[in-house]
Symmetry: D2
Subunit: 329 residues, 4 copies
């Protein structure tokens, strides 16, 4: 095609997240419709170093939208982590005529992108992680699906905990961030929520509250424990020993990463994918795409790394009021 | 209880929406925890006129969070619609010592609330409708669940449409607004989306595009049709006759109103329910609670009625680019 | 491959059903593992007439098991319905060296297969229909998924019907058979179940019972109406007019055909697919595969067409006792 | 009610299973409709010893059918396990005029029932366990739901395993029986299935096959491991060390016990509940209800304990052929 506006490559990197396929599809279809050639890179940054990439057509991304995972595969790349690797990747992009690289991933992947940009590759980032732990954006692809998956699992746990009148400790993902745990805590009406941002390691108080809840008539209790706190099996044992209430632990694990994306993950991933192409159309360089205050937006990648964000204090307070009976007997 | 801070009543009105139970629960538990007595009114405004209400305890709202519908029931009230009815309702509230009435419903219910407030009852509104068609807020309780329910149904339709290589017209709810249709359109990768805000009744163009899509290799196509456009059976017939492609219509109907609420509907409904009590604590009068730019907020009820909102043009544009192949063969 | 044991072709025909992909996969993988070449025919019998078929590998059927629909597509063939068409199809099979044709479909597809067998093609049938209306087998691929899909939709309808205290008429698929309706009736605790095998068109009695139920305290009611009875919108109107109870109709439609198959549909379809190859291994000719009394079995195609089956009377009786309150006030 | 035919009590015992509520509902409604008084006993056999039981009405079991768990709660009873406990329980039944006790539970609960019957209480058992490990019946309440729950979780795991090209070891419930694991193995297309009935502890062979699979092009693999084998974390580590393929373990845990029952669990539990009352009507004593060869039936409790059953060899063989590529490269 002589009339192409240029070559764009897209890859997914780091942990996979439901909605990544929707984002890739939007990049490809919008890119093509605006006159670009779009290449799909396999296995993250490795795929550049290994030149594993193909020109994608409108049809190649059919029937992808509704599936979890990433059809481009994802991986972590030891070679790319080195400065030499980034230099080599940039050289390959240049050689192949790839002007812009769209990276769908989390903080680690964006650090790589930022450094790659120093070698002259224009990088555009889309936030893809179930953990929601990216400062510049209120939304990350996969969080909504992961929360709903975990919530449905905990709904099930509540039913059996209720039948047996026991405590259940359930560990949800989130790495060092407590967003999934907080949301599940509210959505599942958890009696206790332990998140790294707030939990003070006061297990005595925790056990006291569990006892008080039981004394005030709660026959079963759900304790949502964030991955960042961990040690769920030990915690269950500690609770059972201290309270005499039968207690079981479940670590939900990787199933939280899979599954058909929710409407929100599909819609926002699609919008951000299209928006990434629009940024390229406008000649923008080295931007991260995100949602801020309800709207899609883009921010300079260097600036984005200066930002911080934290757990919503009001949500945390509400979770405490709604879940725990003991304070207002 | 001598130390009560006052009496609050809560009701659900208009069409039910998943998450209403979560909102009631949050009102009741937060209300109790802050020192109020909270009464649950049954069957909307009728319940005031008929004095159908009970003092609710912390326990009465257990195991409600995860269920669709509203355990307080909902109804439309002919008597309350009259000025006399509102006067009577206000008198009953006064007689029973109910200072604040929390109304969970849509635009129609809020009109009732606004008028009731003129007779001296403090009213607080929470947006409860799957249609998202309330101007002052970016979020309404039930929308997220309804969209996901419709989306999952359309995912199923796509599979069978694909196997048979046919067109499917699927009608989703939303009354005169196209929000559900637009979101499903993007989330399901619909080839066509017909919404009242945008569709120009140019059926010839629609049919031309369906033909072009088929000619360019799309073996099956999904047309999401908003309730506000309607006539889905007729549309399917028209498409089949004009294109020769086998076409079937499905009207999803009331199942879109039911089902266990999504995490977002549970979390936002819980936060807004708690926030309503906080407004009362702060002495606020006649406010509507909503989400604006990602945050819970409250607005004067009169002011709220001056606001307008519309379909997101960018989302609509993205939907068109991602769904239709014919433009860029 | 010189050592091949022969060529087998597989196709899906008639209405699609969740689990068809699992059956195809089992045919292909078992076939290959036992030394056959297996061809996938596209678009039912048309695919033979048009020579649309490909040799399938172990890998070609990866990631198909969990998806509804049929990746071989399905269609009805006017040409094949004629005797000339069958003669031509048999000639093509002979020319291409296809000794056995495995047909996954319903009664109509098996009639075609039976007649094709007279021209010397060995045919093996697998029951693929959501309607369960095949006499020789207790199980048909897709029924279990369709019932669960309909049941979940009706669970949603019950929630909103309950909130509004209304009647809901819900029409489920099944063509002229009432199996899906009866199962949903029991599974959803329907107050009324109308199926072609049993309903005597006594609408006066139906309306009387609905009134009695309401009088005895049932605030909402679900009437499951089989496709074979139909006229759901009219029925809803009739009920509303005669009882004064607000009544809404929903026709679930084609979404009942789609969706990821249940465990049972995947397991039984897999077992029957493998069993089909075993029949070929044993030199069996013109057999239909099915489940009888809990076990997979095969029966001569001519014999199968002599069999009859009917609704389980005990299940129907139980449905009546569990659903209707009016008899034992 | 002077005209009562007698008093029946119903309880759930042992591990809870989805569908138990459907069974209780059917017992209560059929019992009432046939003229009995039906008492719901709370917390298994403890509820008799503690006289925790209530007369149930038709309405008391409304809106229970669709929920997992057991609204009568369940527990294990140390006191009842002793001979003295059984004697006491029988005396209480006699004192209260309870002629028949319906027990919904597993093998352990039936042993208790059998021994209780020796003290003159008529016992009727319904098989309630997700494990399917009761010899006299082909179906147990909860198995179908548990398998589908596990299957959906493993579908999710496959998506993320695929994206990362890793192995996943997933442990499913079943106590010492491999039924859930075998069914998930087939339904999820697992590359390996480890069940107590078949696995010979030959981990070297297992690892060899995993290597062969990878060598033949399988980028990701699912190993379904039965609870009866266990040690999933250790197994994952062993595989990773021996093969160099990144491997993760997930123990699905108690979430497999919860969740809204599938159609089959609701229908079969309802039919068996009704059938239990019919047995009482016919004057039958000390019977267990089950499904055999597709039909509901009853068997003498002593006889039932003589029966044995085992994994379906053909299903196991099919699972092996469909899942493992290495044998026929």
């Amino acid at each position: 095609m002589s009339e192409t506006k240029g070559k764009i490559a897209v890859l997914t990197s780091g942990g996979d997240a439901p909605g990544m396929n929707a984002a890739i599809r939007a990049v490809v279809r919008t890119g093509i419709s605006k006159g670009y050639e779009v290449y799909g890179v396999r296995r993250g940054y490795n795929g550049i170093l290994n030149r594993e990439m193909d020109l994608l057509t409108f049809h190649d991304v059919s029937e992808k939208l509704q599936h979890g995972g990433t059809f481009l595969f994802t991986a972590r790349s030891a070679e790319f982590r080195e400065e030499e690797g980034k230099k080599k990747a940039a050289a390959i992009c240049k050689e192949l005529g790839i002007e812009t690289l769209i990276v769908i991933g989390g903080d680690g992947s964006f650090t790589g992108a930022k450094n790659l940009s120093k070698y002259g590759v224009n990088v555009i980032g889309l936030p893809g992680t179930i953990d929601l732990d990216i400062a510049y954006t209120d939304y990350t692809i996969g969080f909504d699906t992961a929360v709903n998956t975990a919530m449905e699992a905990i709904d099930r746990l509540r039913e059996t905990s209720n039948s047996h009148e026991r405590c259940s400790v359930v560990e949800v993902m989130g790495r060092s961030a407590g967003y999934i745990a907080l949301w599940c805590g509210i959505a599942n009406g958890a009696e206790q929520i332990l998140i790294p941002e707030k939990f003070d390691n006061n297990y005595d108080k925790l056990i006291e509250e569990i006892k008080n809840n039981r004394a005030s008539g709660m026959t079963h209790q759900i304790i949502v424990n964030a991955e960042g706190i961990g040690h769920s099996y030990g915690l269950a044992k500690k609770i059972e020993e201290a309270t005499g209430i039968e207690t079981r632990a479940t670590i939900l694990g990787h199933l939280q990463r899979g599954g058909s994306p929710t409407a929100r993950d599909r819609v926002y991933a699609s919008v951000m994918g299209a928006y990434a192409i629009d940024c390229i159309e406008k000649g923008k360089k080295n931007r991260l795409i995100g949602y801020k205050e309800g709207h899609v937006y883009d921010v300079d990648i260097e600036e984005a790394f200066q930002m911080t964000k934290s757990i919503d204090d009001y949500e945390y307070e509400v979770a405490g009021i709604l879940g725990t009976r003991c304070e207002y007997k």
